[in-house]
């Protein structure tokens, strides 16, 4: 049974999330049901608990109990519910079956943001130490790397050295040029990648091809603090990049193909002396300015593109990938007439990072995505987000879709024309 102090501490966390927007989301739902078919989990699995309004209701009942007069005085009429261990289990089920894709939000006539409501659930789980352990561990690992650059600098540089030959194989350099510049003060662009080679090699080749004055960040872009819903850790992970960008006096921070990293950097950093771009926006700009040229014959087969929710629906990068794809293929096929209503891949919100623990759920809850891709008849499924790529790869294997799941940046790097 939950003791009073624990409950009080958790309610303080709840209170910390109650800004005007959140109160509006908590008080506005009319249960019209428009969101019912909007959620890919409900559309794929068909259970009431996966309806967006139901998820929200789990949080809303706690709100009514502790933050509204009627719920305090007459809880049965106010549909209020006490914060208990069972309530926390319900919050877990709601929060970690939601990918935060916000498809329900674009259908909701009031624009209720389920992802924001789930951020209350996630914060309470963090407070009760009931969050997925692996997400906290990954957040802490990320913070640890940021705390002591000197401790990890040598191994970071060693890792970068291992990638240089492959970068040069995609774009030959002139004598004296550096394949992967690091820690360059006064660079125009700071590229924030993921820890993996696949996030650095194609990007580096394209920056070099475009003659960009760039430098690679010491830090990885992904924000596991955001996945686990811990605002303090989210800020710590974010601040490392902001501080590095200021120290190097860059004009632009370019975030790799990672949806959450881009949305968090774009929307939570406030006013800064640099602009924030997704790598897809930067690549589209290079093509538009004639800084890179692409060979369409390198891409074989029809291509479709999965819009990562955090980059497209939630951050507005919709036209740029299509502009790039016009320069990569003659046979591009849309997944949907209106990209804002694209189905989520089913891997967001930290679910992919939770690995095999969520695999069965991720496969079952994204069958509508599989149908959407199969309908196009495309052979190449491009995307621009690490989570989406991993999830789509899992779906491809599980459902034997027979597509080639590709990062957009990797397709660009492979199609670079060396001399023009």
């Amino acid at each position: 049974m939950m003791d009073q102090k624990t409950r009080d501490d958790l309610l303080k966390l709840f209170q910390s999330k109650l800004n005007e927007a959140m109160r509006l989301y908590l008080e506005t739902c009319t249960r019209c049901g428009v969101c019912t078919e909007a959620c890919h989990v409900h559309a794929s699995m068909g259970q009431v608990k996966y309806i967006a309004a139901y998820r929200a209701e789990i949080v809303r009942r706690l709100y009514k109990k502790y933050f509204k007069g009627r719920g305090k005085i007459w809880p049965s009429v106010g549909e209020a519910k006490a914060l208990s261990e069972m309530a926390l289990e319900e919050l877990y089920e709601a929060a970690y079956s939601c990918t935060g894709c916000r498809r329900c939000m674009v259908y909701c006539p009031f624009g209720i943001d389920t992802q924001m409501l789930m951020s209350i659930a996630k914060l309470l789980l963090v407070g009760a130490e009931m969050e997925p352990e692996i997400l906290t561990l990954l957040a802490d690992t990320s913070i640890e790397k940021g705390k002591s650059i000197d401790l990890f600098k040598d191994s970071f540089m060693e890792g970068i050295k291992r990638l240089e030959a492959e970068v040069v194989s995609k774009w030959k350099l002139e004598a004296g040029e550096t394949a992967i510049p690091v820690d360059v003060e006064g660079a125009d662009l700071l590229y924030v990648a993921l820890a993996g080679a696949h996030s650095i090699i194609p990007a580096a080749a394209i920056f070099n091809a475009a003659k960009e004055n760039w430098t690679l960040s010491f830090f990885e872009a992904v924000n596991f603090g955001a996945f686990v819903g811990d605002p303090a850790k989210t800020k710590l992970i974010l601040d490392r990049i902001v501080n590095e960008a200021k120290r190097l006096k860059v004009k632009e921070v370019c975030i790799c193909e990672c949806g959450t990293a881009y949305r968090v950097m774009k929307q939570l950093t406030g006013k800064q002396p640099f602009k924030v771009s997704s790598i897809t926006e930067v690549h589209a700009r290079y093509i538009r300015e004639g800084r890179i040229k692409l060979d369409k014959t390198r891409v074989n087969g029809a291509v479709t593109y999965h819009d990562p929710c955090q980059i497209a629906r939630n951050a507005g990068v919709i036209d740029e990938p299509r502009y790039i794809l016009q320069h990569l293929t003659e046979d591009y096929r849309e997944l949907t007439d209106e990209p804002r209503y694209n189905w989520c891949c089913g891997g967001g919100g930290g679910l992919v990072a939770m690995g095999e623990d969520t695999l069965d759920f991720r496969m079952k809850s994204a069958s509508v995505k599989v149908d959407q891709v199969n309908t196009t008849g495309a052979k190449i499924l491009a995307t621009a987000c690490e989570n989406c790529h991993a999830q789509l790869g899992n779906l491809n294997t599980h459902y034997e879709m027979g597509v080639d799941v590709r990062f957009l940046s990797s397709m660009i790097a492979d199609a670079l024309i060396q001399s023009f």
């Binding site: 692996i134 561990l137 990954l138 690992t141 970071f156 993996g196 996030s199 991993a390």
Partner: protein, 80 residues
């Protein structure tokens, strides 16, 4: 396998992008007893920073790191 370290379990993480090597080792290390050693084989250069940071965070100890052209091997003693 390192000559001077007795390995109790090997984790083949080759081909996995970060952070999956850390995710799998974090879970997998619980399959051995405290004091035993696992060998984690990764091909992702990001592991070179990820594993030491994870070890510091999780309270485990990297005894040795070996690298050749293709594979990075971490010998990790479970301490927590």
């Amino acid at each position: 396998m390192s000559d001077d370290i007795k390995v109790d379990k090997v984790f083949d993480l080759k081909g996995l992008p970060c952070p999956m090597p850390v995710v799998k080792v974090s879970k997998g290390i619980k399959e051995v007893e405290i004091g035993q050693v696992i060998e984690a084989q990764s091909t992702d250069p990001g592991s070179l920073t990820d594993f030491p940071a994870w070890a510091r965070t999780s309270g485990n100890e990297i005894l040795k790191t070996e690298q050749d052209d293709d594979v990075i091997k971490f010998y990790i003693k479970r301490k927590a």
